[in-house]
Symmetry: C2
Subunit: 425 residues, 2 copies
Amino acid sequence: MQPRKIRKLCNAAREASRRLATLTPDQKNLALAEMAEALMRRKGEIIRENRDDIKEGKAAHLSAALLDRLRLDEDRIRDMADGLRHLASLPDPVGEIVDGWHTSNGLEISRIRVPFGVIAVIFEARPNVAVDAAGLCLKAGNSAILRGGSASLRSVRILTEIISGALIDAGIPRDAVSMVESRERGDLKQLLAMSDYIDLVIPRGGEGLKDYLKKNSKIPVIYAAGGNCHTFVDASAEVEKAIRVVVNAKVQRPGVCNALETLLVHRRAAADFIPLAAAELIKRNVLLYMDEDSRALAETSVRDGSEWIEEATDEHYATEFLDLKLAVKIVDSVDEAIEHITRYGTGHSEAILTNDLENSRRFAAGVDAACVYVNASTRFTDGGEFGMGAEIGISTQKLHARGPLGLRELTSVKYVITGDGHVRG
Amino acid sequence: MQPRKIRKLCNAAREASRRLATLTPDQKNLALAEMAEALMRRKGEIIRENRDDIKEGKAAHLSAALLDRLRLDEDRIRDMADGLRHLASLPDPVGEIVDGWHTSNGLEISRIRVPFGVIAVIFEARPNVAVDAAGLCLKAGNSAILRGGSASLRSVRILTEIISGALIDAGIPRDAVSMVESRERGDLKQLLAMSDYIDLVIPRGGEGLKDYLKKNSKIPVIYAAGGNCHTFVDASAEVEKAIRVVVNAKVQRPGVCNALETLLVHRRAAADFIPLAAAELIKRNVLLYMDEDSRALAETSVRDGSEWIEEATDEHYATEFLDLKLAVKIVDSVDEAIEHITRYGTGHSEAILTNDLENSRRFAAGVDAACVYVNASTRFTDGGEFGMGAEIGISTQKLHARGPLGLRELTSVKYVITGDGHVRG
């Protein structure tokens, strides 16, 4: 796209955002319902366009995993529509009076939740992110500018077109959702310079995209680091329960950012816990990278499992495997566990399994992460599981929002101050 | 400073921040009291070092205004000490349970206020910012890295030394407050690349500094735009009250960001309001840039004031005068006032003076700014006036914090989730 065209698109999004900010919850929920209906009505077109993306992706030798992420079928389209309907059922964040007070001279101060204005969502292969992001932004009163990966260009284009049409049907400016239709990195750079029009950038993608944004964005970004997540099995942990949680955190869905990557075990729990845990994990095809002491314990129980156990290196402790692999280490205290996590963690989700109240408090206070768990699986870090209804990602930065980014996190605030001719003395 | 030295300093600040995060309010308040006492005890040294900065500033032909900002005398040192003691009296933000809930499966979720970690404060001439910033950061549990302007190098050095000494006396790591001792822009750039150690950058300075940060910071920044603030006198405004508020907003301290810069007047209020308001403003040496209609009205009352009235241009409406100058315009409706503010405002502080409930609601909802006033002077935008006790600046960005940056705004949050062996299904 030409720079002028990108600026025009951004300006239209900003104009639309003024209108969005004044909509009632009912008006927005109606639009979400219209969007859902339009997706289902036009699913044939979506699948046709998507098929062309897939065809081109195959010709370009995209991996099977990427092609799967790219694919839209009837089930996935229904999931998107259901997601929008669910969004419509959630409480509206805009207009919430976050807090308020009277000052000593009688001024009334209210802090009120308001939309950001315009949010740009930069994503990679999955075209369904376009619909999720557009819905979340709309519900929070923001215009969305979508910029998908080049492989999904046709799919995102038809989805954006369908959404825009539904917006018009609901009496909302179509520019509330728009798409930067381009495969050029230069266009992305152009977009990231539009700080006069765009209030926030949210990336949904890997480290390469993040590095690119860090270097090029003139607009504030909410980053999500990967999740090199730990679980510490304390001396007082109940063995069976601990095994259940550890297996869940590692195995239930290993490819996601809240999955367990390193298991830390208190030396006093090791003899009871490690042989059983290793057997359970290996049974589920988990490859273990173990320090010397834990390895010796594991090998007492796992007779035919020697090919499932390797020696752990520093690099293993630093790696987010996103796979059926787990690093294991024995530590001598909760403090040593905290130190290990401070050194290797990415501030995502960290857990302690314990029945010791003091240690649970020490761990919760001492670990610096978005989500710290006591006696639960790290897999719960998720807007849906937290009861936020939906999320656009998990933030691991400390500015603005940490943890799941739900509707509330897609808003800013405004002070409204009411007086009676008050002047400052 | 050498790059290696800056990295070492940042790393030490990060290490100290771990300790800071675990301090009790009492420990931090004791340190603030120690800092205040040490400043008073060593005021002679401070004044001596400051005198050398002033001498050098004079030799470098700094303006009188800059030299005044640079100067520290006994009164200003006492003010700094009093500020620290006041900080000690404020509620501690760290550990506040912001909110919390139980999920449907019985997980207990708490969102808890925690320190950021390390905050770099970049400021220009005023050396007292070093003490204010160090105090605020400490109370919020953060390490502070101070980087003052080159003109105040000696003053900031002695202040930092005194603060560090007081920290040691209070049993707190001295690296909780440190200073990048340098006059080189290259060192600032180096500092702004330390995203592994620094969580947040707060600038206290002009547009030049902000532009530099926008271009060079790899660390999140909280920006404060200037304040091109408006006050709209609606048709129903009570004339006398409106004049009092307008005069206060313009005249009480014209050089600050929350001072009034453009006055908008409803056409139906103009005949009653403008002649009297113009006379009152001119009496206080305010130069008026007026549109044709308001000028005609003003000139009916201001006989000898013709040299105080000039024709307004678009540029006047776009200017933050920070001076005894005021642009004036007549508008036909609250919507036209909102449009004007949308076009020229900087999102800082905007006011409506009215007795019309519908218009007050329309204005409060329609104006996109950090602070929107109904029947009060824009001069109230200030952490102290808001009852926050203290502030490090006024944010006009929408990410993280908007409006006065008090102690709460210098913190992040963390989720602590407690279960009983919960696993995700």
